[in-house]
């Protein structure tokens, strides 16, 4: 074989798929989907996207990991301002208030379904999930995707080592302290107790399950003129407790947002408050016996704690100057795909996020998932217990990302011993309210 025929052969090999590909690519409408889940969760997102792309040949969803939730949000807003926003962006629940005020930048999903004629039965979504992402009149503003709640993870081996019953996790905060003392005394793990998402779990969820207002006006659902209420005696007492536990070496503050997540699967922390969405990672990485339980509570504040609030994220549809109806249609079809019970159930079981549709929950039950995975229904139990009140429906604060950071900063200063719990919470309220007033003003002009 001489050089020329080799070359010709190579050209033919390379050229052949190139000839076929453009035809197929032209037929497919492409949709950009930015998401904020890395690691194991990101892999599951990609597999869901792949399943959609394989299920039909008209549309292609292209997923891009954009960093953490706040980074994804910043990227989406910046790209909209530059005129090339992605079609779909995964927005964590604290961004909901900001996105609802985004006017022409987003196309709310009720409108998307109306315009494209794609019908998705939105009533099949669980009430708590639907409520969080709906307008006051019940129309769905964004597509529910990954919903979680905060739960307690604990290391059963460490419990056994400390002489605690591995099958009886602490139920109240007093029991948590008692358990932490034993864990510390037995030196079972380096850190007895830690928490991910300090604001979300120790203030938002804590308020919800105790039926305490996090802010006025039904946590912002009833109006933009909402004011933070987290300097109430109950919140200050909880903050004092965290500070005292830290001083005693029972509690370690390990960073903001989900930075403390690795401490539990690595076996460093015996009790960790974190998202239910950590389940997939714990199952994959933990080299010890573990279990999950509902969040502890304070019986003197509320004897029968009510439902926790969902966290996680939803999918928002964004606009761009050159976007064609066909592209919106593709987005709607992708959403319809996601709403199927099989997709929902598989997502739920592979990640630890709660099922968001009735169908997904029933299918998981029928498949025997909860018998095979004890504790997988803990987040569902916590989300559905009691009667939902204005304090446990959710949070709709503008610029909530900033407010969460403010609360974390003031808590950090408190834990450093620079201020008392009362001062920390008062400062958080003062600073947070200033942000809320600025958001209110910007919305009205």
């Amino acid at each position: 074989m001489n050089r020329r025929s080799l070359l010709a052969g190579a050209t033919a090999l390379v050229g052949a798929p190139a000839l076929i590909r453009p035809a197929a690519a032209q037929a497919r409408t492409e949709v950009q989907f930015w998401y904020g889940l890395g690691g194991q969760l990101g892999e599951v997102v990609e597999s869901v996207i792949k399943a959609f792309n394989d299920s039909q040949d008209r549309y292609r969803v292209i997923g891009t990991f954009k960093g953490s939730y706040p980074e994804t949000m910043q990227a989406a807003i910046a790209s909209w301002r530059a005129g090339n926003a992605p079609h779909i962006v995964q927005m964590f629940e604290v961004g909901t208030g900001t996105m609802l005020g985004a006017g022409p930048a987003v196309k709310q999903v009720w409108q998307l379904f109306e315009e494209t004629g794609v019908s998705v039965d939105t009533s099949q979504y669980l009430a708590g999930v639907r409520g969080y992402y709906s307008l006051p009149d019940g129309r769905l503003a964004s597509m529910p995707f990954n919903s979680s709640t905060a739960i307690m993870w604990y290391n059963k081996d460490a419990f056994a080592k400390a002489g605690l019953d591995p099958d009886a996790p602490p139920k109240t905060w007093d029991e948590v302290i008692a358990a932490a003392r034993k864990l510390k005394a037995a030196n079972a793990t380096a850190v007895p107790v830690t928490t991910s998402w300090p604001t979300w779990i120790q203030y938002e969820q804590y308020s919800a399950i105790h039926d305490l207002p996090f802010s006025t006006k039904a946590n912002g659902f009833a109006g933009l003129d909402t004011e933070l209420k987290i300097n109430s005696p109950a919140h200050v007492k909880h903050t004092t407790r965290l500070m005292e536990m830290a001083k005693e070496g029972l509690f370690r503050y390990a960073g903001r947002d989900n930075a403390p997540d690795p401490l539990f699967p690595s076996g460093e922390a015996a009790i960790a408050f974190a998202s239910a969405g950590l389940r997939g990672r714990v199952a994959q990485e933990a080299k010890f016996a573990w279990a999950d339980a509902v969040l502890p509570y304070d019986p003197e504040i509320k004897a029968d704690p009510i439902n926790g609030v969902i966290g996680g994220a939803s999918l928002w549809v964004m606009t761009a100057p050159s976007r064609k109806p066909e592209e919106y249609k593709a987005v709607a079809e992708f959403f319809r795909f996601l709403s199927q019970p099989e997709v929902d159930a598989s997502w739920h079981q592979r990640t630890g996020y709660v099922p968001i549709t009735q169908g997904g929950y029933e299918l998981s039950r029928k498949q025997g998932y909860y018998e095979k995975n004890p504790g997988a229904d803990v987040p569902i139990i916590q989300l559905t217990r009691g009667t939902m009140t204005d304090n446990s429906r959710g949070f709709r604060l503008g610029r909530f990302v900033e407010i969460r950071n403010i609360i974390q900063e003031e808590l950090e200063k408190g834990l450093q011993g620079q201020q008392t719990a009362q001062q920390a919470m008062d400062n958080a309220v003062t600073r947070g309210n200033r942000v809320l007033r600025e958001f209110e003003r910007a919305q009205r002009t």
Partner: protein, 292 residues
């Protein structure tokens, strides 16, 4: 001397054009935008804009957190500059002597400069992280309550050390070059007069190094104020609390994270004014006292 004179009046402008275009697009235009945004208040998406005169500025100077960030910046810049320049001078003097393998020392000294800020920060995390860091674990093992993620003083210490470490190499090169350009004759004359090495350094070497020192002082202050974002971002994100939030980091937090463009722009304008002032002072006042 022969002077080149262009007959064509257009040609010089044409030759300058690329540089002027770059300056206009990357410096003047963004600066003008910042000036405009600093007197406006806008929501995250840029949908609603309100002209507020100087409200962003008055809010800024009434905000104790802004003043704290300014104070953090002063402490941070002074420490970084002193440590980076002091160590570099020490190393340069040592490496300037006749010692075996000094080429190797000099090369090794220059390496850290090639390390990107984020990578430098990761190296320091591996050293000082309370749980996974080498020294962090040693300190905790020795009973020092080391946790820079929760102790503002320790956090400041770590970002200062990491930032200074990165700048030592740069200063080292300049100091070494400065030392080598000092005429031997002057030093020998001092030696013959019976001056001790320490005395020779302070009375002969150090004054003759003053142009280098002055240049590095400017460069280091600018570095500490503006180029340390990467190190702070990777190490502490301005925390804990707001212990390591410098002015430049606050511009980022308010503008990019909190999407409060009005306030962020106002802060940029303040920084712009500070830089102009610093430069003016340095070149008009200090430069006159430098021995060349």
């Amino acid at each position: 001397m022969r002077r080149t004179i262009f007959d064509d009046r257009l040609l010089p402008y044409l030759l300058l054009l690329p540089q002027l275009v770059v300056t206009a697009i990357f410096f003047l235009w963004p600066a003008a935008q910042a000036l405009r945004a600093s007197v406006e208040r806008q929501d995250a998406f840029g949908l609603r804009t309100e002209f507020v005169w100087f409200e962003n500025f008055t809010d800024l100077f009434a905000d104790p957190l802004y003043l704290q960030a300014a104070w953090n910046t002063v402490i941070f810049s002074v420490c970084v500059t002193l440590i980076a320049m002091g160590l570099a001078l020490l190393f340069a003097v040592l490496a300037d002597r006749e010692i075996r393998g000094r080429g190797v020392y000099r090369t090794l000294m220059i390496w850290p400069y090639a390390v990107a800020p984020a990578v430098a920060a990761v190296l320091w995390i591996f050293l000082f992280h309370p749980q996974i860091g080498l020294f962090g674990r040693m300190l905790n093992g020795a009973g020092v309550g080391w946790d820079y993620k929760l102790d503002g003083f320790q956090a400041m210490l770590v970002v200062i050390l990491a930032s200074a470490w990165k700048q030592v190499s740069y200063n080292f090169i300049f100091f070494l070059a400065g030392l080598q350009s000092i005429p031997r004759a002057v030093l020998e004359a001092a030696q013959i007069d019976g001056a001790t090495p320490v005395r020779r350094f302070w009375t002969v070497v150090f004054p003759l190094l003053s142009p280098t020192t002055f240049f590095l002082l400017t460069v280091n202050i600018v570095y500490a104020c503006f180029d340390t974002f990467g190190v702070i971002h990777a190490l502490t994100q301005g925390g804990p609390g707001k212990a390591t939030e410098t002015l430049i980091y606050k511009v980022y937090v308010d503008g990019v994270v909190n999407l409060n463009l009005g306030s962020s722009s106002a802060q940029s304008v303040v920084l712009m004014a500070v830089v102009m002032l610093l430069t003016a002072i340095q070149f008009r006042y200090i430069e006159r006292k430098v021995h060349y």
